[in-house]
Amino acid sequence: MTKDLVVAGFGGQGVMLLGQIIALAATEKGLNATWLPSYGPEQRGGTANCTVVVSDEEIASPLTDKPQFAVIMNNPSMAKFEPKMAAGGTLIYNSTLVTQVPARQDIKVVAIPANELAEQAGSARSANMVMLGVMAWVWRDVFTQEDLLTAMVHKVGDKRPQLLEINKKAFALGYEAAQKAI
């Protein structure tokens, strides 16, 4: 089993963190994982993305030019990554912010109103955690919800319990939305 995922959005949407939580969950499960950030001046207000590869084998390339899975948080990222998706891949996008609906017929497309759901949970800033919940459903053959929630706590800490509650709620809403959508 080898799966790859691109997470892309604006700098500040927590796309790097989302990728790191998934890589951490994989590592804690004894799987191999790589996390590769885009880095450089493009992060300042521009687009940011990271690539996560999870495998039960040794990982060769940590970067992929044909992602099997993508979480797209804004329009510029949609423009950049929709054409790159592997045929048969799954593209999940934040339908609150992304107005450019994907046109490709050879990929699975899942619309999740991530910001809306995050606001329901208590903060629009938890849109990335909504998507973590979505990924918990999409990659349910790899992770349990508990795996990802534990990794989330390990990554963001539990010093601010209120925030953690919002994040957990956002996760649950994302998981539910994905169950309905897929």
């Binding site: 994982a33 590769l36 060769a60």
Partner: protein, 352 residues
């Protein structure tokens, strides 16, 4: 071995150095190497070490020169433009036979270039980037785990041969995260102070040590140079490292190191599954270069394909190693901070 930790490449460099016994870090920040300094600034005080942010790379590397001359495990790290600034002191260290581990997280050049991953410092690192006849032992790990595994070796060999050792990374290995397992801690107090160290004459029974690269008598300096060359020959004979993956006598032999080798592995696996006669030789030491292994693996090869994130530097060593004008040498590269993708390598190898 301990638990697996998900860690950034640059941070793993720092932790591995601490575990190898390094307690002295002198640095100046630069993307994409800054996290090494950041990590050491946080980590060294916890283990009784010293971190100094110098006013420049020139200053940082000369602090390493001083600490290492006293026989201590010291380190600095930088990225290409900063590493260029260090060349003078590196030449001095090579001349004075002072050991240290230096990390170059290579980025696109020339000049200030950009901050993306590159391999265009190959010539600088392997041919002696400063003045004079000298060589550096250059390791080019391709995963974060290999970075960690090579760190204690880097220090051991630096001190065994009294020569600076370079870990050649690139922006991608520095910035990515991966699970790593660390070796146990080496207690720095148990690392013996070498006989040659400038660490107080009473420590050496009243013997005064002088570490210098200066010798104004040409005949003596010539003798010193021949001594250095003899040492380099010994390093070439004993410390060359490489890995090979593929069929025994490949028709197509790929040569790549570091990140490029790792990306190429994805392509190689696919092509081998498809039954192609192909293999990849990955130099782990860029100097000494695995000449013999390469010549052997190339014996039956028709195509020798060199992949580099540069406009073609290692290919010169590949040609010198194989030394056969009847082979077909191909170079495929990306200078300027552009990274290969697995698909383009696969397509190139199939297309020819």
């Amino acid at each position: 071995m301990s638990e697996r930790i998900l860690m950034k490449g640059n941070e793993a460099v720092g932790e591995a150095a601490v575990r190898a016994g390094c307690r002295l870090y002198f640095g100046y920040p630069i993307t994409p190497a800054s996290e090494i300094a950041e990590y050491m600034a946080y980590r060294l005080p916890q283990v009784g070490g010293t971190f100094v942010q110098a006013e420049s790379e020139v200053s940082a590397v000369n602090m390493v020169y001083g600490a290492a001359a006293a026989g201590k495990y010291a380190m600095t790290a930088s990225s290409s433009p900063g590493f260029s600034l260090m060349q003078e002191a590196i030449s001095y260290m090579a001349g004075a036979e002072v050991p240290a581990v230096l990390v170059n997280v290579v980025r696109g050049g020339p000049g200030l270039g950009d901050i993306q991953p590159a391999q265009s410092d190959y010539f600088q690192m392997t041919k002696g980037g400063g003045h004079g006849d000298y060589r550096l032992l250059v390791f080019a790990p391709y995963t974060i785990q290999e970075v960690v595994n090579l760190m204690p070796t880097a220090y051991e060999l630096a001190f065994k041969y009294r020569n600076p050792v370079v870990l050649a990374l690139d922006g991608l290995i520095g910035q990515m995260m991966e699970a790593v397992e660390f070796t146990d801690f080496r207690n720095p107090d148990e690392i013996p102070i070498p006989e040659w160290a400038v660490s107080g004459k009473f420590r050496h029974g009243g013997k005064k040590n002088i570490n210098t690269s200066l010798d104004l008598i040409p005949e003596k300096l010539e003798a010193h140079n021949w001594k250095l060359q003899k040492k380099y020959s010994e390093i070439e004979e004993k410390e060359t490292r490489f890995s090979y993956f593929g069929v025994d006598n490949p028709e197509t032999l790929v040569v790549a190191y570091g990140t490029v080798a790792r990306v190429a592995m994805s392509a190689l696996k696919k092509l081998l599954n498809a039954g192609r006669s192909i293999g990849i030789l990955r130099p782990i030491t860029l100097w000494p270069f695995p000449k013999q292994a390469l010549a052997e693996k190339a014996r039956h090869a028709k195509r020798i394909v060199v992949l580099e994130m540069s406009s073609g530097q290692m290919i010169e060593d590949v040609k010198l190693s194989v030394f056969d004008p009847n082979k077909q040498y191909e170079f495929y590269g990306h200078p300027g901070g552009v990274t290969f993708t697995p698909t383009e390598i696969e397509e190139y190898l199939v297309r020819g």
